[in-house]
């Protein structure tokens, strides 16, 4: 049982044709400066361009719910599931960060809402769900994040190709060794529909998630 190197997993990430991604979504990613290493993607957004989009979520049952978890649950409740955007950062979990953490998570949502309204020429209230991952107990560099959302960092990278989706998947990553991105097509109601998904995680993994409003662990 001598230590042996972890096998490479990079073969699990392969290009996906642009035509396999669902219609009506645009995504972007950038380096906002949450992670120390320059150029590493650490902020991403996903926007639905159709006015009537449904959203749903399952959240951790850990009693210490991070600020973005609390904010996302509140947004889902107040919008009655009519949400259409997501903002995610990696490098800092914004967990166990008290009232400032909540304020920061709301600021991420508000900045992304404003960008969504600008891009889709629409009005409305909170429509953005928030995710954060990384180190627990540290505050977000919130100005860097909101500046990146409203500035060229995010806007200059908006798109719907494989490269854009892959960038978003990379913006989720912490100790992951490859971006986790998949897409499929299937038929329902005689129509071809598409589904794509991104996830991340390599450690602190034993999820027990449920819909908003369920009791703690």
């Amino acid at each position: 049982n001598m230590p042996r190197p972890t096998p490479s997993k990079t073969h699990l990430h392969q290009p996906i044709p642009d035509s396999h991604f669902p219609q009506g979504y645009i995504v972007s990613s950038t380096h906002a400066g949450v992670k120390k290493k320059a150029g590493v993607l650490d902020l991403g957004i996903l926007l639905s361009t159709t006015p009537q989009t449904s959203g749903a979520a399952c959240f951790t049952r850990n009693a210490f719910k991070a600020a973005p978890v609390q904010v996302s649950a509140e947004v889902l409740k107040s919008s009655e599931g009519r949400v259409r955007s997501l903002v995610v950062n990696s490098g800092c979990a914004n967990a166990v960060t008290g009232s400032k953490g909540l304020k920061d998570a709301w600021a991420m949502a508000a900045s992304t809402d404003a960008l969504g309204r600008e891009l889709t020429q629409s009005g409305g209230g909170y429509e953005t769900l928030v995710m954060s991952t990384g180190v627990i107990g540290q505050h977000l560099p919130i100005e860097k994040i909101t500046n990146a959302i409203s500035g060229e960092g995010i806007k200059s990278n908006l798109g719907l190709s494989f490269g854009h989706w892959e960038g978003l998947a990379r913006a989720f990553m912490t100790t992951d060794t490859f971006p986790k991105l998949r897409a499929r097509k299937f038929s329902v109601r005689g129509k071809e529909v598409k589904i794509t998904g991104i996830d991340k995680g390599a450690g602190m993994i034993h999820p027990n998630m449920g819909p908003p409003g369920l009791p703690h662990a």
């Binding site: 699990l12 669902p22 979504y25 979520a57 959240f59 997501l86 995710m131 996830d199 450690g203 027990n208």
Partner: protein, 232 residues
């Protein structure tokens, strides 16, 4: 932390999207373990924007379109399982991808709980890294599981086997324990199965008809190296 987002251009009402996602998450992301720790941030989000449907076409709803709903829910569950498995394969330091199948349980929840207990046992996971056919540790984990239904585990009905992965030249399972009685040891065959990256541990409880799958990985030296120094 586990984060996930799934986006589709199908049209689904918010309540039915939530029902489908909850069902899918229970059978995918809530059925994986790398290290047994639940994060403060775990979240899976789904969006359904209806862009593939016509302008005035109704969204799928479990009450008004039950067949379409079930089809969508099952597609979502299959897709979520594929995404969840990627997380296990990329587990910090992981060298193995292990499916734990528990059959013959009184309820799905009972099967899920037993599979979870095996999947989070540090000693089972160390044995997997060492490619040691230590079925005693698997049996031990089964034995200390408290079943949600309250049904007691009956040691004389439990069977354990190792099942090789799809790509293995010899696909026949290796029976380790049958109705509580150990089978003659075939260490050579056990090594053949355990040296592969993918394998399945199959446990029969002999208490009912329900089953569940769980997905886990091994514990390696590398896991400790990575997690001894994360904040910096």
């Amino acid at each position: 932390t586990l984060l996930g987002v799934i986006a589709t251009d199908a049209g689904v009402t918010p309540r039915s999207l939530q029902s489908a996602l909850t069902y899918a998450v229970d059978r995918s992301f809530n059925s994986i373990s790398v290290d047994g720790d639940m994060s403060t941030n775990d979240t899976v989000i789904a969006f359904a924007n209806g862009a593939a449907f016509g302008d005035n076409e109704p969204e799928i709803d479990e009450e008004t379109h039950p067949e379409e709903y079930l089809q969508f829910r099952d597609e979502l569950t299959s897709f979520a399982t594929e995404l969840a498995s990627l997380v296990v394969r990329d587990g910090e330091g992981a060298t193995k991808f292990v499916t734990v199948t528990v059959e013959g349980a009184p309820t799905y929840e009972d099967a899920h709980k037993v599979a979870s207990t095996i999947s989070t046992s540090a000693l089972v996971k160390c044995a997997l890294y060492g490619e040691d056919a230590n079925w005693g540790r698997i049996l031990c984990a089964v034995g200390y599981t408290s079943l949600p239904s309250g049904t007691p585990i009956d040691p004389t009905r439990v069977s354990v086997s190792f099942v090789p992965d799809q790509g293995s030249p010899n696909r026949s399972p290796l029976q380790l324990l049958t109705n509580g009685e150990p089978e003659p040891a075939d260490e050579e065959r056990a090594s053949e199965i355990l040296e592969r990256e993918d394998l399945e541990i199959r446990v029969q409880l002999g208490l009912g008809k329900e089953s569940a799958n769980y997905y886990t990985c091994d514990f390696s030296h590398e896991y400790v190296t990575i997690n001894g120094d994360y904040r910096s």
